[in-house]
Symmetry: D2
Subunit: 345 residues, 4 copies
C-alpha cells in the first residue's frame, strides 16, 4: 500500500480526494490537513464520512507529512502550493498539485495572471496533468500540475482535432457552464443559495484565468500562438461542467474524420466516452465519475464543428484526475480506484 496525504482536505476538491482515496484499493490515506479545522475529526466537517473515514484534521508540517506519506495532494488556493511543494519534493515525496501554481511551464504567463512565482525552478520539472494526453511524461514526473476544470473539459475534445489539423485554431469559441461547487466552499454572496438558485449568468467574460492555461496548451498543440474566446457561466446545480465548443472546420474536413480523430485518440482511454452520432452528453451522466463524455455535430451550412463535452468538475476536473495522475506516476493502471459505479441520478 502506498501512503497518501491531502493538504487542504476540507475544501470541495479536498473532500473528493478523501472520498476517492478512501476507496482506493492500493492507497492508505494516512494524513489530512486543514488550517481552519485543525484538531477536529474529519467526519464532523463532512458527516457523510462518519464510520467511513476515521481521520482527524491536522495542521500542516512538512516533516510530519513526509514521514507519513509517499504521495501528497495539495488542494489549496494558488500561492500556497508554491511555498509548500518544494519542501515536499526535497524529502522525496511525489506531489500532485491541484492549484494553478505548477500548470505553466512559463513563469511569465503565470505571473501575468496570478502573482510572482517563488518556485520557478520547479516549473521545468512539473508536468501538466492532462492524463490522457500527457501520460508518458506524467509517468516519469515527481510533480504534476493538475489541470483546471475548464481546461480539462475543453482540451480533451480539442487536442485530437488540433493534432490532425481538422479545425482552424483561431476560430475556437468555448462557451462553458459550471455547477456552483467550482466556486469552492468559502461562503460569499455569489454562492448564497438565494442568489444562485433559479439564476443564470455569465461571469469573468474575457477575463477568466483559465484562458491563458488553455491557450498555452492549445498553442503548443497547434504549433502556433492561438487566442480563443472563452465564456464561463454559472449553473444552478452543485456539480457538473459542460463546454460547448465552436470551431470552423478546415477545408474539406468531414464528420467522419472528426469522429476518427476522437475515437482513435481515446480508443484505449478508459475515461473518455465518445457519443454516438446525433447524441450529446449530459452532465448527470458523469456525476461523481472521472469520465469525460464528448458529442459533436457538423453544421454543414456554416462549416462549423460543434462539440459538447461534459465532466464532473470535482472529479475529472479536479480530484479524480489528480488520482488518475497519481496512478500513472506510480506505474499503476490509470483507472485504479476510479471505477466505482456512479449514482444514476
Amino acid at each position: 500500500m502506498i501512503r497518501a496525504g491531502v493538504i487542504g482536505a476540507t475544501g470541495y476538491a479536498g473532500a473528493e480526494l478523501v472520498r476517492i482515496l478512501a476507496g482506493h484499493p492500493r492507497v492508505e490515506l494516512t494524513r489530512i490537513t486543514s488550517r481552519q479545522y485543525e484538531g477536529r475529526p474529519y467526519s464532523q466537517i463532512y458527516p457523510c464520512f462518519k464510520a467511513v473515514v476515521d481521520l482527524t484534521c491536522k495542521g500542516y508540517d512538512a516533516d510530519t507529512m513526509a514521514r507519513n506519506a509517499d504521495v501528497v495532494f495539495t488542494a489549496l488556493p494558488h500561492k500556497l502550493p508554491m511555498e509548500i511543494v518544494p519542501g515536499l519534493l526535497e524529502k522525496g515525496i511525489k506531489v500532485v498539485d491541484l492549484s494553478a501554481d505548477f500548470r505553466f511551464g512559463d513563469a511569465g504567463i503565470y505571473e501575468a495572471h496570478y502573482q510572482p512565482h517563488t518556485a520557478r525552478h520547479l516549473l521545468k520539472r512539473a508536468v501538466y496533468g492532462l492524463t490522457e494526453v500527457y501520460g508518458a511524461e506524467i509517468s516519469a514526473a515527481r510533480l504534476v500540475g493538475n489541470p483546471g476544470c475548464y481546461p480539462t473539459s475543453l482540451l480533451l475534445p480539442l487536442i485530437p482535432l488540433l493534432r490532425r489539423d481538422l479545425i482552424d485554431p483561431t476560430s475556437i469559441i468555448a462557451d462553458a457552464k459550471s455547477g456552483v461547487s467550482g466556486a469552492g466552499r468559502a461562503p460569499s454572496l455569489g454562492t448564497h443559495h438565494c442568489e444562485v438558485n433559479e439564476a443564470l449568468k455569465a461571469y469573468k467574460v474575457n477575463a477568466h484565468r483559465h484562458t491563458p492555461e488553455m491557450e498555452t496548451v492549445i498553442s503548443r498543440e497547434a504549433g502556433r500562438a492561438v487566442a480563443i474566446s472563452f465564456t464561463p457561466h454559472l449553473i444552478p446545480m452543485t456539480r457538473g461542467m459542460l463546454t460547448t465548443l465552436y470551431a470552423g472546420l478546415a477545408p474539406g474536413v468531414t464528420e467522419t474524420e472528426v469522429r476518427h480523430a476522437l475515437e482513435d485518440t481515446y480508443a484505449e482511454q478508459p475515461f473518455v466516452r465518445v457519443c454516438a452520432q446525433g447524441e450529446f452528453p449530459n452532465t448527470i451522466h458523469v456525476k461523481g465519475t472521472n469520465f469525460c463524455d464528448i458529442g459533436f455535430g457538423v453544421d454543414q451550412r456554416t462549416s462549423r464543428l460543434i462539440v459538447v463535452s461534459v465532466i464532473d468538475n470535482l472529479v475529472k476536473g479536479a480530484a479524480g484526475q489528480a488520482v488518475q495522475n497519481m496512478n500513472v506516476m506510480l506505474g499503476w493502471p490509470q483507472e485504479t480506484g476510479l471505477l466505482a459505479p456512479p449514482y444514476p441520478l
Copy 2:
C-alpha cells in the same frame, strides 16, 4: 375596457397571459379556453389564482369567443392556430398568436420545418411581433405572430449591430440556455424533475426550429442570406433564458460604437436595459418581467464581440411580449400593464 380572450389558457404561456391580463388596467379578461380542462374553474388548475381570477375554462367556439372578446391570444401548439385564427380575423377580432404559425412571411420556410400551411393567405398580413423593432407595423396589424423565446433573446441585441454593420453576420454564433418551462407543461421524461435537476445538456444541436425563424429576420436585417450557429441548452431552473452571442467585429469597430448602437436604438424603449461597461446580466434580474437585459464586451485579442442577453422565456419570450404587442395594436403605451415590480428573488 377592452375585452380579451385566451385560447389555450392552461399551458405555461397561457397562465402567464392570464396573470398579466388579470392585472392589466385597460383589459377585462373575459374568456379562457382549454380542451383538457373544459368546465373546470381556472383556480383549480392554477390554485395560485384562487380569489384572484374567477374564470372557468371553456371549450373553444369561434362565435362565442368573438362575441366576448375584442382581442384574442392563441397560446396553442403550432398547427392549431392556423385553423382557428382565420375565423377570428373574419369576425373582426385582433389576434396575437404565440405559436410559430404566423411568424414566417414565407410559407415555404415554415413548411420546411413544420408542416403544410393552411392559412397561407394570412402570412402577408401577419406582422412579426418583435415589438421594439417592428412596432410601427405592429401598430397597424390585426394579426401578430409573436416571436419565439430564443429568437427574441437573440434578435434584440443583434439587430442594432446588424443595422450599423458593426459585426460580420456570417460569424454569428448563439449559445443559448433556457429554463425548463420552455418545454411546456405536458409531462415527459425530458421534464421529469429527477432527469432535469442537477443535470445540464445541449439539445437539438443544429436542429432547433427557432433557427430558421432567427435567420429569416437576421437575413432581412443584414440584407443578405445569413446562416448562424445556434445551440440551445436546458438549465435546471424553471424560468429564464440567457443567450451568449459571439460575432466577429467589422474592421475597426470599437466598443463605444457597439454601445452607441444598443443604447441609441433602445433609448426610448422601456423594456431593454443595457448594462454598464463590464457588467453582465443575470436571468434572475428579469424573472417575471418583460425586460431584456443586455451586456457585452469586446475581446480585443480575437476581435470578437461577446454579447449576453437575458429574458424571462415566459414573459418577454412569450406572454409579456404578446401583451406588449396587443398594447401597440390598440394604440396604448406599450408598457401598459407590464410594469408590476418584480420579485427580487
Copy 3:
C-alpha cells in the same frame, strides 16, 4: 399619497418591502437606508429594479427620515430597532417593525430569548401585527411588531380552533418547513448553495426563538399557559413556508366544526384561503403573495386534526403583512397594493 421609508432595505425582507411599496397605489417610497450599501443606487444591489425603482441607499438619520416619511418600516436584525424606533415615534412617525423587538408585551420573555430590552416603555403601546386577528388594535396603533414567519403560518390556522375550543392546546405539534430566504442575505456556510441544495435538515430543534413568540399568543388565545412542540426544517428552495400542525381534537368535535371555525373566522379576510375538503396547499400557490392557504383533515383513527398551512415567508411572513398592517394603521382597505396577480410558476 403617504410617504414611506424602509430602514434596512437591502436584506431580503427589505427588498420585498421595496417591491411592494413601489407598486402600492397610495404610497410613495421616498427613502431607503442601508449601512452596507450607503451611497449606492438600489438598482445596483438589486438589478431587477433597474428602471423600476430609482432610489439610492442612504445612511440612517432619524431627522432626515422623519422629514421624508410618514410611515417607516424597520427591516433590521433585532436589537437595532429598539434603538431606532423610539426616536421615530417621538417625531410622529408610524412604524412597522419586522424584527422581534416589539412582538412581546412582556419584556421578560423577550429578554429570556434575545437580550436586555432598552425600549420597554414601548412594549405596552406596540401591537402584535397578525392582521387578520388583531386588526382592530392595529388600526389604532402607532407601532406594530410584525409577526415572525413561523408564528404567522401557525397562528392563522390555530387561533380559530383555540377560540372555539376545538383542539387540546397542550397537544399541539408544529412541524414547519422553510425556504432558504428565511435565513437572510448574509453569506454563511449554512446558506451556501452546495450545502443547501439537495439537502434537508431540521435545525434549532426545541430551541428556535419563534417558539416563545408563538406560545405567548397561543396561551393568550387558549386562556392558559401552553407549551407546544415546534421543529423547523430547511428546504432547498428560495421562498415558501409550510407548517404541518397536529393536535388532538376535543371530544366529539367533527370535521365540519373545524371547517366552520376556519371559514367563519376568515370569511371576510381577503388573504386567507381555506382549501376544499381533501385538498391541501402548496407553497408554490402563494409564492410572491400575501395569501395564507390552509387545508386540513381529521384522522378518525387517532382523533387528531392535521392542518397544513402555507405562506410566502417573505410576504405574508414578513414584508406583505407589514404593508397590510400599514394599510390598516392608515385606515385603508387592508389589501391595498397587495393584490398583484402572482407568478403561476
Copy 4:
C-alpha cells in the same frame, strides 16, 4: 460469485440495484429485464453506465431468469411481483421483492389497501426485510419483502424505543419528507420539474399506503394495536428522506435512556449512525449510502421526544437494503458491497 438478476431494472430503484450490484465484489449481475426497453443496451437508458455496465434489457421469462441467476430482485410496481415470484421460488431462486406484495403477513391488510392477493400462501414464508431488526429471520428466508422507504426511516428509530417501553405508542406522530425520486420514473404532472421545483406540499394526508405497513410492525413491536399519524411531504430535491418523529415519553424516561436504547440496539450495526447530543442529521450526509442517521432531543417542557432520521430513499429505502438483505440471506457480512465512500456533495 453469486449470479444476480434484476426484474424491472430501468426504474429508479432498479437503476440503483444495478449500480450497487455492479460494484459488489461477490456478485455477478447477469440479467436485467425491462418491458419498456426490451432489447436496448442498458447504457442507452442510463448513459452514466456506458463502459461500466455492459448489459442489454431483456424481456422477462422465468426459465431463462432461473438459469441465469441464483438470486433475483423484483423492482416492479406492486401486483406484478405476486404473479412472478412464486415461479421463481419454485425454481429454487432466492428473491428480494421491493414492492409491497410480500411485506404483510396478513393478506387482509394488504388487500384492504392494495388489491386481492394471488400468492397468499407465500406470505407466511416471506420475511419483512428490515435488516437491522429482523436479520435472524432474513438469514433463513428464501423470500424477503423489502420495506418501504417511509417505514424504514420510521421503524429504525422507533423499534428500540418501543421495545424498551420508552414512549407511548399511541402518541406517535411521523412527519416525513421525501425527495422526488420516490415517485418513480414515470412522467406525470406531479413530477414535472416546473411543478415540483420551488414548491412544497403534503400529499396523501391520512391516506398513504405505507401507514398500514408501519402500523403492522409497530403494533407487533409494541405488543398491541397502534394507530399512528403519518404525513408525507414532497421536497424539491432528487434523493433523500427525512422523518421527524414526535412521541410522548413514558413517565420518568430520560434522554440518557433514549440514547442507550438507540446506541445499544445498533452498536454492532454498520448502517445506523446515532448523532451526538444536540446534533441532527441531514439527508445530504446519507446520499447514495445505505446509512440511516438518527438524532434526537427531549423537549422537557412537553415531555415529548423528537427524533429525526434520514435515509437515502433509493438506497436504505430501497435498493441498498435489498442488497443488504441478499447479503444476509447468503450468509455474507451484511455490509458487503455497500461501503463505497459517498459523494460528499
